[in-house]
């Protein structure tokens, strides 16, 4: 009978969540409409790509992976970044951060949803997507890294979904999550987050045909940059929630995250420097990719300004986050977040994939720059992600605050729900 009651409660939980999602002020609806418009535009652009083929993108044989896969890679990093919050919260029992771990988990879910969409729009035969899902499909394990990526990304999505649903549903029922279930799941999400990013790095890293990617520093670089970009979103979000809801977020939590980001950015820049040194000093033919990235080759300079912008943003953000005063000041803190976001986005979205394929394996330079369809489809996918995230945060916030509870449940105490999970 308990199971039946739980199912009924869960149904109530779902319908209650729907009601919350459909209730909001003008600003909320403006934001939702804005996202829906972009999603619609992206959908129209994708329809034309579906109809005509990948010719609607600027990808060709020479540069056969590009903007879509760059976005995918960037977002895997964002998804992995939830661990930056989970580690201090659970491993070091650092309480101020515990309350906001759930935001990291929600962000991870939204990011993985976008990852899946970016892979889907990138493949030539999206109608055969099911070939990737055994038993009707077939995964070429253990040799294919993309097959591993499909496994770990779906696993990570499921894991975060279960954690979040379990936590929110427990709080909704006025109960504390059972830590014998909850803690192992959260701890498991740490290696899972590292796994998704490592496997994604290995997808490039393992290709001996592409010297720009075939460097063992790639996976560590991925992790370091992810630990910058993911939390940058969270810092901004935490401040927004603090302002618009009764959500209490300790200043110390924000500063701590910013401090960790400064270290991560230092490692990221250091690893980039190590890579630049190896290529420049040894001066082999492989230097050509880095030359294309930072200086262009002949008249082919389409991505050069973006790469310098990326380096500038990353350095500036590093300095802002390193100095305690600027990291604590709201203006410079948020400026730093935006700079980090731009820096890492350009580096992963353009700087990783495109120079890796330019020139191609036979020395040809095809200068790639995303087409309008690629920009529109990508904007649509980002909007889907923001929409998913917005709706999830909309439901999670009143639950965490104890405002959305099952009827008859004791009103939640004001203590931090994540902390009481312990």
């Amino acid at each position: 009978m308990a199971a039946v009651t739980t199912i009924r409660l869960f149904a109530q939980f779902v319908t209650g969540s729907m009601r919350i999602v459909l209730r909001g002020n003008a600003l909320y609806w403006l934001w939702i409409s804005f996202l829906l418009v972009l999603i619609g535009a992206g959908g129209i652009a994708y329809w034309s790509q579906l109809h005509d083929g990948l010719i609607q993108t600027n990808m060709r044989d020479q540069v056969s992976w590009a903007y879509y896969i760059g976005n995918f890679t960037f977002l895997v990093g964002v998804a992995a970044a939830a661990i930056l919050l989970v580690i201090p919260a659970y491993v070091y029992q650092w309480k101020p951060i515990k309350e906001v771990v759930i935001l990291g988990e929600l962000l991870a879910i939204a990011a993985i949803v976008m990852c899946g969409l970016f892979v889907t729009v990138d493949i030539g035969r999206p109608d055969r997507f099911w070939h990737l899902f055994p038993p009707i499909g077939r995964l070429n394990l253990p040799s294919s890294l993309l097959a591993w990526d499909v496994l770990v990304l779906n696993g990570y999505l499921l894991l975060n979904f279960v954690i979040v649903t379990y936590l929110l549903f427990s709080l909704y029922r006025g109960k504390h999550p059972d830590k014998r279930i909850f803690t192992p799941l959260v701890l498991f999400s740490i290696p899972a987050a590292i796994a998704i990013h490592t496997v994604t790095a290995f997808l490039y890293n393992g290709l001996a045909a592409r010297p720009f990617w075939n460097a063992s520093i790639l996976a560590p670089r991925f992790i370091a940059s992810a630990l910058c970009s993911g939390p940058a979103v969270l810092l901004i979000l935490m401040q927004l929630l603090r302002r618009f809801t009764r959500f209490h977020i300790d200043d110390r939590a924000i500063w701590k995250v910013a401090e960790l980001m400064a270290y991560a950015m230092f490692i990221n820049l250091f690893l980039l420097g190590a890579e630049v040194f190896k290529d420049v000093y040894s001066d082999t033919e492989h230097l050509v990719h880095m030359r294309y990235m930072f200086f262009g080759i002949g008249e082919h300079t389409a991505i050069v300004p973006y790469m310098w912008l990326s380096v500038f943003c990353s350095f500036a953000a590093f300095v802002l986050f390193l100095i305690p005063k600027t990291r604590a000041h709201p203006v410079t803190l948020n400026l730093g977040c935006v700079l980090i976001w731009i820096g890492v986005y350009l580096e992963k979205g353009m700087g990783l994939v495109i120079p890796g394929m330019t020139p191609d394996t036979l020395g040809e330079i095809y200068e790639y720059f995303p087409s309008r369809v690629e920009f529109e489809v990508s904007a649509g996918i980002f909007s889907v992600g923001f929409l998913v995230f917005t709706l999830m945060v909309k439901v999670a916030t009143p639950i965490m605050l104890g405002e959305f509870r099952i009827r008859g449940a004791e009103t939640a105490e004001h203590s931090a729900p994540m902390a009481s999970a312990k």
Partner: protein, 282 residues
């Protein structure tokens, strides 16, 4: 095997794909299923191109492992191989897909791909100070493309030919990133071949008409070589630079080249171990 009829009921099997959505992997089909699928395909293609198209499924021959040798001292860069290949293997004419890319290299730089020019004027060859290097699928013994495919849509056959199941490929292009020879090509749009130019003698794993969004490459003319013929590029080469044969037969021409000439493989440092070798015949 769920046939085209079942797929049609769910809206599959459309003009968009020229293939049944539910078609399984060729490698796992029983002989009866292969027969059904091939009958389907022959009917579809014959109707579409208004001529009798055959789709073969000849298996590898016993005791045969194909090998290819190309004489770079003879090649003049005329690109006849490129166009013979397009005609034989039904590559798209619009947009153009070429399985062979001939590189013009500087004599004083040697095999330096960073300075290769694939867009030279083939009317003016051979140009002074240059030599030519045709590159296509090297049919590697350790193929990075096969390793990278997430769905197992490409594999090495017993006779050494690396093939693609066009009905199973999802178009993710991992294999293209993995290939050090630029040998793999994606159909960016629906391939277009004028009906009168279609070569109606095809093989399931080779030159049958492809569809939008899948990857294709050289198969040593699988439809020819499994029937005892030479690849089209070997036949058309005006200077006899292209040699082909059975690596397991000590009296074959490729074996003769390996034993009597100085050979090299492209990108040997990557350990792909090609079955396609280059040699200096003169």
């Amino acid at each position: 095997m769920i046939g085209c009829a079942a797929a049609a009921a769910s809206g599959g099997c459309s003009d968009l794909t020229h293939t049944s959505w539910f078609r399984g992997r060729f490698r796992e089909m029983s002989d009866a299923e292969k027969k059904d699928v091939i009958a389907d395909l022959e009917k579809q293609h014959s109707e579409r191109f208004a001529k009798a198209v055959t789709v073969g499924a000849e298996p590898p021959l016993e005791g045969v492992e194909f090998g290819y040798a190309l004489d770079i001292s003879r090649c003049i860069g005329c690109r006849r191989c490129v166009y013979a290949c397009v005609e034989e293997n039904n590559q798209s004419r619009d947009p153009q897909v070429h399985w062979i890319r001939v590189l013009e290299l500087d004599k004083d730089k040697g095999i330096d791909l960073a300075h290769a020019n694939p867009y030279y004027d083939a009317e003016k060859v051979p140009r002074d100070g240059h030599f030519y290097l045709p590159v296509a699928c090297q049919q590697c013994q350790n193929p990075p493309c096969v390793k990278s495919c997430p769905v197992g849509a490409t594999w090495t056959e017993a006779d050494g030919i690396v093939v693609i199941d066009y009905d199973w490929c999802i178009g993710c292009r991992c294999c293209m990133s993995a290939c050090p020879y630029g040998a793999r090509h994606i159909n960016l749009m629906e391939p277009h071949i004028p009906a009168e130019e279609l070569n109606p003698k095809t093989h399931y794993l080779g030159n049958r008409p492809r569809m939008k969004g899948v990857v294709e490459k050289c198969t040593f003319c699988i439809q020819r070589v499994r029937n005892g013929r030479y690849p089209a590029c070997v036949e058309v080469c005006p200077v006899g630079a292209r040699k082909f044969g059975n690596l397991l037969d000590p009296s074959s021409e490729v074996r003769y080249v390996i034993e009597h000439k100085r050979v090299f493989v492209l990108r040997s440092e990557l350990n792909t171990r090609p079955r396609f070798i280059y040699f200096y015949g003169l």
